[in-house]
Amino acid sequence: MESSWFLPLLVSCRLLLAFTPIPFTSGLQYDHQLSSPLTSYSRLKEGLWLYRHDVDPYVGGVFRHSPLLLSLFSTVLPPLPVVWAMSDITGAWALLRIWRARQRVRKGSSSRDSLVAAVYLLNPYLLLPSLALSTSTFENTVVLLTFMLASEGKQSPALLALALSTHLSISTFIIVLPVLMLLLTSPVSQLASPRPFVGTSVRSAGKYASEFVAYWLVLFGAASVMAGGRWGWVRETWVQGLYLDSPGLDPNAGLWWYFFTEMFDHFRPFFLMVFSVHLMIYILPICIKFQHDPLYASFLLVGILGTFKAYLTLADPGLFLSMFVLFPEVYPYLRHPIVTTLLHVHASPLLPLFHALWVTEGRGNANFYYAASLVMGVAGGAGVVDACFAGMRIAIGDIAEGERSKWEVMQE
C-alpha cells in the first residue's frame, strides 16, 4: 500500500474503465439502486435534448437535475463517461487532502495515502453509481470538495462549494452548520479531548454565514437565468428533491417511497412534513455533541443523509462508508463493526435480487424490495450509531489493563 506506483495505477485504471466498454454496464443506468429520478443519466440526456430544442426541460416532470448541471453539460462538457471518472478521481483527491489536513501532513505523503484514495475509488457503492453515470457522483465530489476547502481554511472557496452542493442536492443543507463550524475551528482530531466550542468570534461566524447566503443567492440567480428565467426548476429539483410535493414513487434503496405508496392521500402532506423535518432534527444535537470536532459532526450527518435521505441511492451510504477512512482513531472504539459490515453484505445483494424478483420475474411484490431496503436502512443506522458512540467513547479513552475489571461502561 505504501508504494508510490499504487495511486497512479489506481487512477489510470479508473480512467481506463471510462473508456472500455464493459458488458452488463448498459443495464446499470436503469438500475433503481444506483440512480434515482433526481440523478438518472437517461433523464439528464432527455433534459439536455429538450433544452437544445428550446423546450423548457422542467415542464413535464421528466427532468429533475439542477440547472447548473444542465448548463455544465450543454455548454462546457458533453456528458461522457470520462467526466464521471474525473469526478471520482477529484473526489478521491479531495478525500486525500482532507485526510492530510486532519493529520496535519503539510508536505510529503502519509503512509495511508493510497489506502484513503483506494477506499474512495474502489468502494462499490460509489463505483457502480459512477459507472451508471448517476449524477450523485458529482454531488459526492462537491461535498468532499467542500470539506476539503473548509479543512484547509480556504473560506470563500469552501462557502462557494457549500452553496454549490446545496444547489445540486438540496438535502445537503444539513451539513451547512458543521461546515461553518469547521471554518471557524480546525479539522484536526479533537475527539479524544472534548472541549467547548472555541470559535474565533460571533462576528466571523456571521460573516461566513452571510457570505454563504450571498453565494447561494448568486447561484440561485444564475440557475434561474440558465433555466430560462422561469421558476419551474425550483419545484422540480428542490421541492421534489425533498419529497415535499407529490412525491415520485420510484422504488429506491431508501426508506421513503414505500411509505408514501401505502399512504392515503389526505395524510400525505403531514407525513411529508414529518419526514422532511426529521432530517433537520439531527443537525443541532450532533453539532452540539461534537462541537469540538466539526469534521466528525459532518461525517455523522453525511451518514444520517445516507440512511434517511429521500431518493436514496447507493452513492449516499457509499460516501459515508468511504469517509470512515478519515477517522482511524475511532476504530478501536467501534462496538460492532463486523455486524455493520455483515448487514451491508446482506443488503447489497438483497436489493438487486429482490428488485429482480419483483420487477423482472414477477414472483414477488413491492414488499420484498422494501424489506431489502429496510435491511439497508438498518445497516446505515448501525453504522451511524456505532460511529456516533465510538466518537464519544474515545474521550473516555482506553482503560488500563488492571482497571478494566473494576469499570463498567454504560450508555444512557
Binding site: I338, V339, L342, V345, H346, P349, L350, L353, L357, T360, E361, G362, R363, G364, N365, A400, E401, G402, E408, M410, E412
Partner: protein
C-alpha cells in the same frame, strides 16, 4: 415484610449496573455455550430438511384467486375433434417416417394453421455456443386473434417436437392436439385473450428462440428472424407433452429457469379441472401415486412391516417428489419447455401424459386443455405474488414457505454464530508470560493472580484474510471463463485435470508463502474462517428465498465442512500456537478432500459440466457461474483454513 421493604428501598442507581451485569452475563452465557448453540441450530436445520416430506408439515392445496373458477364450464370438445387430431397425427407420423427436415415439418404445420384461417408463420433460428456447437431449427406458430378484446393479452399453447421425459422420442400427439385445438378453439367467440399456438423445434431451444424473438430480447449468440406476427402480453402458457399412445395420469412439471416456480394457482386449477372435467388424476412429474404403482426403491431393503405401512409408503412417495423437485430447482434447470416462459413473467406449466395402456387419450386431454384455457381466460390480473414459493409434496398437498424455509436458514444462522464467535475469539489472546506486576500490587496473593487466565486484546489484521477471500473468488471467476472457452470442451479430460490441479495447488502454495503473523496479532486462519463462515451464511440465507433447493444443497455441502475447517472451539482451546503444526500430512489430506469437494466435479462429472455450460450459454441458467464463482471458492477457503498452521 421487612425484606420486601428493603427490596423496594434498594438504591436506584444500582438498576443500571444490574442491567449491565445482566447483559454481560447473557453475552457470556451465549459465548460459553456457543458450540452447543451452533450444533443445535445446525442439527435442527438438518433434521428439518429430512422431515420436509412428512405429511404433517404439508397442507391441502387450495385456489387463491377467485377469478379462476376452475372446472366450472361445460366443455365442447368432442369425438369429432378427436378424429381431427388423429388425422393430424397420421400426417405427422408420415413426416417422422420420411425423416422430414425441420424446415419441412414447420412448413407442414404452418400450412395447416393457415388452412384454418389463422395468421401463421415459421421462424428459423440458430444458437451458437462458445464451443462452436451450433443448434438450429425451425419453429412454426400461429396467432388466433381474440374475438372479444383488442389483443393486448395472450395465452400460449405450445408443444415441442421432441419429448424428453417419455419413452417415445417425438411428441407427435402433443403437436396433433395443438393443431386440433387450433381448429376447435377458433369456432368460439368467448376468448378475451389472443391464443398463440407454438410448435417448437427440438426440445428447449425452439421455444427459447421463439420467446426471445417474441419479446425482442435476442442474445448475441442467437441468430433468428424477427417474428412476422405478434400479439400482446402473454399471461399464461401450457406446454403439452404427449408422446405415448394413451395415458392413465396427467403429470405436471412446474420448475422454471433459475429455480422460479410457476404460480401454484395454475397447477391447482389444472388439478381440479383434470379431476372433475377430464376424470384424469393429476400427479407430479411422472410419479404415480403410492397406491397406483408400488415402486419402493427407498424401502426395498426395509423390513416387511415398513414396506407395508401406509405411512412409510406415503413418506417414500413424497421423498421421491421432493427429490425430483430439488434436482431440477437446485440446478436451475427448467423441468420442461414451460420453464423458459418464466423468464418473461409468464406462468407456465407442462402437462405430461404419463404413458400407459389406457384409458385416456385425446378426448380427455382436449377437454382438460379447453377448460384450462377457459380458466386462464377468466383472469383479470396477475396471479398473486404469494403463491410462487412452495414445495409440492404431492399433487394435492403443498408446503408453505414458512414450513421449509427455516431449515436452510437455521443452518445459515448456525454458521453465522460460529463465524462471529471466531471473530470475537480472534480478538483475544491468552498471554502466557506474567504481566508487569505494578498492576498487581494490590493483589493479596500473587500466586492466585498468576493462576487466573489473563485475556488480552490483540490485533486482527483483516486485510490478508480479505485478500485471500477475494483472490479465491477471482480464481473462481477465471476458472469459469476458462471453462466457457472453446478449447475447454474439445479436450475436456486433460484441460479439466490441469485446471483442477492448478486451482487446488496454486492457493495452497500461495498461502504458505504468506508472511507468518506476529504473535500479538490474530492468525490468518481464524480470520479467514470467520469471513468464510459469515459469507457462506449470507449466501445460504439470501439464496433460500430465491431458490430453496439450491440453498438447502449449499447448507448440506457447506455446513459441516466449513464449520469444522479449524478444529478448536472458542471456549475449550482459546489459542495455543504450539497445538497443531506437527500434523502436516493430516492437514494436507484434509486440504485435498476440501479441494475435491470444491473442484472435484471438474474430474468426475464432465457431462454435468457440459450440460451446465450449455444451459448457461443458451438458456441463461446461473448454476454454472454460481458454482464456479461462489460455491467452489467458499469450500476452497475452508480448505485453506485447514491448511494454515493455526
Amino acid at each position: 415484610m421487612e425484606r420486601i421493604i428493603a427490596l423496594l428501598r434498594r438504591p436506584r442507581q444500582n438498576a443500571n449496573v444490574a442491567r449491565l451485569r445482566r447483559r454481560k452475563n447473557a453475552a457470556e452465557l451465549v459465548f460459553r455455550n456457543l458450540s452447543k448453540i451452533t450444533t443445535a441450530l445446525v442439527a435442527v436445520g438438518y433434521l428439518w430438511m429430512i422431515l420436509i416430506p412428512i405429511p404433517p408439515l404439508s397442507q391441502p392445496v387450495y385456489i387463491d384467486e377467485n377469478a379462476l373458477q376452475p372446472a366450472q364450464v361445460n366443455t365442447n370438445w368432442n369425438w369429432q375433434h378427436v378424429r381431427q387430431a388423429d388425422t393430424y397425427l397420421n400426417h405427422l407420423e408420415g413426416l417422422r417416417d420420411r425423416n422430414a427436415t425441420s424446415e419441412q415439418r414447420a412448413q407442414f404445420i404452418r400450412d395447416e394453421f393457415t388452412k384454418l384461417g389463422l395468421s401463421a408463420a415459421t421462424q428459423n433460428y440458430t444458437f451458437t455456443t462458445s464451443s462452436g456447437q451450433r443448434v438450429s431449427g425451425v419453429n412454426a406458430y400461429a396467432i388466433m386473434a381474440s374475438p372479444r378484446a383488442s389483443g393486448s393479452e395472450a395465452i400460449v399453447i405450445s408443444a415441442s417436437w421432441l419429448s424428453e421425459v417419455g419413452e417415445e422420442l417425438y411428441n407427435l400427439r402433443g403437436i396433433s392436439i395443438v393443431l386440433a385445438l387450433a381448429s376447435f378453439l377458433k369456432s368460439y367467440s368467448l376468448w378475451a385473450k389472443d391464443i398463440v399456438f407454438v410448435i417448437g423445434d427440438n426440445y428447449f431451444d425452439g421455444i427459447h428462440a421463439w420467446l426471445n424473438a417474441y419479446h425482442g430480447t435476442i442474445p448475441p449468440n442467437l441468430d433468428t428472424d424477427l417474428l412476422e406476427h405478434t400479439s400482446g402480453v402473454i399471461w399464461n402458457a401450457l406446454t403439452i407433452d404427449y408422446s405415448g399412445h394413451s395415458f392413465s395420469h396427467l403429470g405436471v412439471f412446474f420448475e422454471g429457469l433459475n429455480g422460479r416456480l410457476s404460480n401454484q394457482d395454475l397447477i391447482n386449477s389444472v388439478r381440479l379441472i383434470s379431476h372433475y372435467t377430464g376424470g384424469v388424476p393429476l400427479v407430479l412429474y411422472d410419479h404415480l401415486d403410492a397406491h397406483d404403482a408400488p415402486q419402493s426403491s427407498l424401502l426395498a431393503k426395509a423390513p416387511e412391516f415398513m414396506r407395508r405401512s401406509p405411512q412409510f409408503r406415503e413418506f417414500e412417495f413424497r421423498v421421491r417428489n421432493v427429490k425430483r423437485h430439488v434436482s431440477y430447482q437446485a440446478r436451475g434447470r427448467p423441468s420442461g419447455a414451460h420453464g423458459l416462459f418464466h423468464r418473461f413473467r409468464i406462468d407456465a406449466i407442462t402437462l405430461y401424459a404419463v404413458p400407459a395402456v389406457g384409458p385416456h387419450g385425446f378426448f380427455a386431454l382436449g377437454r382438460i386443455i379447453e377448460s384450462t384455457l377457459r380458466t386462464s381466460n377468466n383472469l383479470l390480473e396477475r396471479l398473486h405474488a404469494s403463491f410462487f414459493f412452495y414445495i409440492l409434496t404431492s399433487s394435492g398437498t403443498f408446503m408453505k414457505i414458512g414450513m421449509f424455509l427455516p431449515s436452510a436458514v437455521l443452518v445459515g444462522v448456525g454458521m453465522m454464530f460460529w463465524g462471529l464467535g471466531t471473530w470475537v475469539e480472534a480478538g483475544w489472546w491468552k498471554g502466557t508470560e506474567r504481566v508487569s506486576t505494578d498492576l498487581d500490587d494490590k493483589a493479596k496473593d500473587p500466586d492466585v493472580r498468576r493462576a487466573r487466565p489473563r485475556w488480552r486484546p490483540r490485533r486482527r489484521p483483516v486485510l490478508p484474510a480479505l485478500v485471500v477471500v477475494l483472490a479465491t473468488h477471482a480464481a473462481g471467476l477465471l476458472a469459469f471463463n476458462l471453462i466457457t472457452t472453446p478449447w475447454f470442451p474439445q479436450n475436456q479430460i486433460t484441460s479439466s485435470s490441469i485446471l483442477f490441479v492448478v486451482l487446488s495447488l496454486l492457493p495452497a502454495v500461495l498461502i504458505t508463502l504468506a508472511p507468518s503473523h506476529p504473535p500479538e496479532a490474530a492468525p490468518i486462519s481464524m480470520l479467514l474462517q470467520s469471513f468464510n463462515l459469515c459469507l457462506a451464511s449470507t449466501v445460504i440465507s439470501i439464496t433460500s428465498l430465491l431458490n430453496f433447493s439450491l440453498a438447502a444443497m449449499l447448507a448440506i455441502t457447506l455446513g459441516i465442512p466449513l464449520l469444522r475447517s479449524r478444529i478448536s472451539s472458542p471456549q475449550q482451546t482459546p489459542f495455543q500456537p504450539l497445538q497443531s503444526p506437527s500434523r502436516t500430512p493430516a492437514r494436507l489430506v484434509a486440504y485435498a478432500a476440501y479441494s475435491m469437494l470444491a473442484w472435484g466435479w471438474l474430474l468426475f462429472l464432465p457431462s454435468e459440466v457440459e450440460k451446465a455450460v450449455w444451459n448457461w450459454e443458451v438458456l441463461g441458467v446461473w448454476f454454472a457461474p454460481f458454482v464456479c464463482i461462489v460455491y467452489a471458492p467458499l469450500v476452497l477457503q475452508a480448505g485453506l483454513v485447514r491448511l494454515c498452521p493455526s
